[in-house]
Amino acid sequence: MKQTHTFRTDNLIAGYDQTPILHNIDVTIPSNEISIIIGANGCGKSTLLKTMARLIKPTAGEVTIGGTPIHKIPPKKLARVLGLLPQTPIVPEGITVTDLVGRGRFPHQSFMKGWSQKDYEAVSEAMDIMNITEFADRHIDELSGGQRQRVWIAMALAQQTDILFLDEPTTYLDITYQVEILDLLTDLNRKYGTTIVMVLHDINLSARYADHIFALREGKLIAEGDPSSIITSPLIEEIFGLKCTVMKDPISGSPFVVPIGRHHNKVRKHS
């Protein structure tokens, strides 16, 4: 079982080139749960994720784990607790699945020690969880988008961290693979207690798979909580500027957002 950490941001301000994108964000990531950050394009959800995953240095405020600011922890040590799958990682030309997944072991290795039994076990376990063992010897280029994404997640799993950040792990995938990836991440959370924090575009999948939602608008946190209590049509309108009606997802019982456009409106005439 993964460890519990107090992971939070205090009065966080961050952005690129001195232009702040995030304004005074205070969040505490619920340990051993799945949190999803939602918001419109450009609202700062990726920036928040990247700042929490120490890719971006905050201009003010702090990200702390167990009370210690993350930038004060040696990077390799931090990487044993906190893993990250970026939105568009690079596939080295000609790399095999096992080689790629194995690179997730970097923070656990030192130059003198090299590869230990533990490393091999972590790699095969990660490949096992993501169902990619059969591809072990294949080149990444030969795999489909969904399989490829499973390989990347396995790489992050081989890192064996308690907390895992994922930046839009389902983007560019067909709906089938989106559901497959989110199911696998849920397995991971339920089975091992891995704290998962991710950015997702799809509001309905977010509402279904999240234990906790952070809703951002223009760099400010405007709501957080479990999906059934916070996802309402006024909130969605506030975040996305989209009129909608919220129903109950017939499969999961989670909130289901149905957008109201200018056409196809059979219930009432558009005002």
């Binding site: 990077p75 990250l84 799958l85």
Partner: protein, 344 residues
């Protein structure tokens, strides 16, 4: 679980065909060494090579020629290894398959300093050449990196290569500006500029050794972190790599290896590009294996080119830099076309 970990172990430990390739390379290397001792403007028989190598008392003409060729051969192998590893390091740092010391402008920077050294400070010993070439190489590398890192997104591979090409063009014209009015400089520089291991002596070997050792150590130690960097800066940071520090150290190692080689032998192009690329094609991109293999294949390519230059240019000889350019240019075009297709 056990079966799985065995698969992972086998796969991870060694790339496919690694041992086969290693054995073949070592045999090839031995053949190259033999050829380098035997062939030249004057071919020497096996007997005489053995006499020259192992019987120090014999003073025949053939034996002396062989002894002279030993230094040149060893020097050539070292240059090739240094260039191969330098290419592997610089390609990793810039994450660009066509990054080569000459493409990044590092060679031209070294050349400019050497020309200035010859023109204004009357340098002529190998130690002085090294100091000037290294200073030029390092300053150019910093300059190119500085330009490449400006603006949003930091030093992306594309920006680095563009900055390198622009800098290289500007520095070449400076080289010309310094050289053309001074005919004596031109004579001395002309020979150096082509790139040749023919002038390699035991002195140059001795001067070379410490730099080569330090460079190789840097390459081997940074290999695992460079493997992580290959997944992109964000992924590497997520794995706990200090990307800035890593780039600095690895680039310094690569620039030093190429700078020293350039100082001693003149700019020898394309080996830094060719060696790592061939190895990547054969055993995949794991740098822990690529780096030693790039060293070996760099040495092989350079000695083959050197011997070919001696045989083709007979009764004189063709400088190795000319030969590598002939072999390397078509390969560069092929690689670029392939890289372009991948990118599109």
């Amino acid at each position: 679980m056990n079966d799985l970990s065995v698969t992972a172990q086998k796969q991870w430990h060694l790339p496919k065909h690694f041992f086969k390739l290693l054995v073949i390379s070592l045999i090839l290397l031995a053949v190259c060494i033999f050829a380098s001792l035997a062939f030249g403007s004057r071919a020497i028989a096996m007997n005489d090579i053995i006499t020259g190598l192992f019987n120090a008392d014999v003073q025949t003409h053939e034996a002396n020629v062989v002894r002279q060729r030993i230094a040149r051969t060893v020097f050539g192998l070292m240059c090739g290894a240094a260039l191969g590893v330098s290419g592997a390091l610089l390609q990793s740092v810039t994450r660009n398959p066509i990054a080569d010391p000459s493409i990044l402008g590092v060679n031209t920077g070294a050349a400019l300093f050497v020309v200035c050294g010859i023109a204004f400070f009357n340098i002529n010993s190998s130690a002085q050449f090294i100091v000037f070439a290294l200073a030029g190489a390092i300053l150019t590398a910093i300059f190119v990196y500085g330009i490449g890192a400006m603006g949003r997104g930091g030093a992306t591979p594309l920006k680095l290569v563009l900055a390198g090409a622009a800098t290289s063009a500007a520095l070449s014209s400076l080289v010309m500006a310094v050289m053309i009015p001074r005919s004596s400089v031109m004579d001395q520089f002309r020979f150096w500029q082509v790139g040749s291991v023919g002038a390699g002596t035991w002195d140059s070997v001795t001067v070379f050794i410490p730099f080569l050792v330090v460079g190789l150590i840097i390459a081997v130690v940074t290999a695992p972190a460079l493997n992580a960097l290959a997944l992109g800066d964000e992924a590497a940071k997520g794995l706990g790599v200090k990307t800035g520090t890593l780039r600095l150290i690895a680039a310094l190692g690569g620039v030093m290896l190429c700078g020293v080689t350039t100082a001693l032998a003149g700019p020898i192009g394309f080996i830094g590009l060719l060696a790592p690329h061939l190895i990547r094609l054969m055993i995949g991109p794991d740098l822990r294996f690529m780096i030693p293999m790039s060293a070996i294949s760099g040495a092989i390519i350079l000695s083959i080119s050197d011997v070919a230059g001696r045989v083709l240019g007979s009764p004189g000889e063709l400088e190795v830099g000319v030969v590598t350019a002939f072999v390397g240019a078509p390969v560069l075009i092929l690689i670029t076309m392939k890289a372009k297709m991948r990118a599109l």
